[in-house]
């Protein structure tokens, strides 16, 4: 029991992953806004469709259109202070039901910036409900530019009060699939960890020529490939709904195919030799090269590429405040550790099987 403490830890962490990963609710959000565009000087009724919202029956409500980075506003919300951004406030409000609400806006004569088109984000604040954000909700166009006058119009103060709840952030397009962060992403962490341990044992084999080291290296590589494919297929399902295509020609996905193909070749190489000693030696050397290509393929090339759909690659930022908020961190880090422990656990079973198989063969061959 004392020796197996990490298995117990694995079960606890994965239980937490499934319970918290599936049961913690999403923060209210705005799924769509109509109309999509407006001209300066227009008076519009802006209709917002909500997700997880309880707007029905509300009598008081305010909304702001603001021209600024969406994440800056969301981050400031946790500190409950008011922000200085270019914003206008709604002049009328109408709650239709729990999911639909309308705001009347008078768009001023000029934009505060010297551009013909500017995207404005929407901040919805209905009494008795959590505030909801919609980044780049509406495109506002103007013909004549007068940023100085525009600044005098867009001077409303945002009144942000978003307390920290134990809730996941609402993200457009992703919606509930944000929870896949606890299932799809750790698969790659497991794969990478298992391959790292495999290369360690490969090197140990080359140094000391112990049979166990070779068997360990094979078992860990097998486990790594298993989790690599799980990551690939879970990603395929997720991408089908979030990006519109199961396996888009994204740089990270192409590099993953290459990396997995290299590791599959490892098993073909092993199958090609009958001599146990030779098989172990050559596959250990091969695995060093495979691992040496794995790092640039998965972690360097996608970062250097001009663009990628994956966060943290191309010009995207990952694992900053934008992708993981504090609630997600509380689940994501335990989930990663839990999945890694599960991967190691499965590999130990394979290793124990292979050891018995080897001993039996040796006994039968005399």
């Amino acid at each position: 029991m004392r020796k197996n403490w990490w298995k117990i830890l694995c079960v606890i962490l994965l239980s937490w992953t499934f319970i918290a990963g599936l049961m913690v609710p999403m923060r209210p959000g705005v799924t769509s806004v109509t109309p999509y565009s407006a001209k300066v000087g227009d008076t519009i009724w802006l209709k917002a469709d909500g997700y997880n919202t309880n707007w029905g029956g509300a009598t008081k409500g305010k909304a702001w259109l603001h021209i600024d980075e969406f994440f800056k506003v969301e981050k400031a919300g946790k500190k409950m202070d008011s922000l200085n951004v270019f914003a206008i406030q709604s002049i009328d409000f109408k709650a239709i039901n729990d999911q639909e609400v309308e705001f009347k806006f008078v768009i001023p004569q000029h934009l505060p910036l010297a551009t013909k088109l500017e995207n404005a984000s929407l901040l919805v604040s209905v009494e008795g409900a959590e505030q909801a954000l919609r980044p780049e909700a509406i495109a506002i166009t103007q013909d004549s530019i007068n940023a100085y006058r525009g600044k005098t119009f867009w001077n409303s103060k945002l009144d942000i009060h978003r307390q920290w709840h134990f809730e996941y952030p609402y993200r457009n397009i992703l919606q509930e699939t944000l929870r896949n962060t606890f299932f799809h992403v750790p698969m790659w962490f497991v794969m990478f960890t298992l391959f790292t341990i495999a290369i360690y044992h490969g090197i140990q084999y080359l140094r000391f020529r112990r049979r166990e080291s070779d068997i360990k290296a094979v078992s860990f590589t097998q486990g790594g490939v298993l989790f690599g494919f799980l990551g690939l297929f879970t990603g395929g399902l997720w991408a089908n709904y979030a990006w519109g295509q199961p396996f888009p020609l994204d740089i990270k996905i192409i590099m993953t195919y290459t990396a997995l193909a290299i590791y599959l070749a490892y098993f073909i190489l092993r199958g090609a030799f009958d001599d146990v000693e030779k098989k172990a030696r050559i596959s250990a050397v091969y695995s060093i090269f495979a691992f040496a290509t794995l790092i640039p393929l998965l972690y360097v090339v996608p970062k250097l590429a001009p663009d990628s759909l994956h966060p943290g690659n191309g010009s995207n930022i990952a694992f900053g405040s934008q992708d993981l908020d504090n609630t997600m961190r509380l689940v994501f880090y335990p989930a990663s550790l839990g999945w890694i422990l599960l991967g190691v656990w499965i590999v130990t079973l394979v290793y124990r099987y292979k050891i018995i198989e080897e001993k039996l063969e040796m006994k039968m061959n005399g």
Partner: protein, 71 residues
């Protein structure tokens, strides 16, 4: 074995059809903020790991039989 797999697939399809009828939406997976995509991802991981373990189980049974024959 084939019959069992066929039965499971049929049951799964029947169940999803039932849910479709209940929600009244054409695209089942996109309902409720696409929560079923998360369920699908968990099912893929589950099936992958279980298939791996079943394979290992079979190989172990073979080994056990070999040991029995030796004795």
């Amino acid at each position: 074995m084939k019959k069992v797999i066929f039965l499971i697939i049929t049951l799964f399809l029947a169940f999803t059809n039932h849910l479709k009828a209940q929600t009244g939406s054409g695209d089942f997976m996109r309902n409720i903020g696409m929560i079923y995509v998360v369920i699908g991802v968990i099912i893929i991981i589950f099936i992958g790991i279980i298939a791996f373990l079943i394979n290992l189980d079979r190989k172990l049974t073979k080994l056990e039989n070999q040991i029995k024959e030796n004795e």
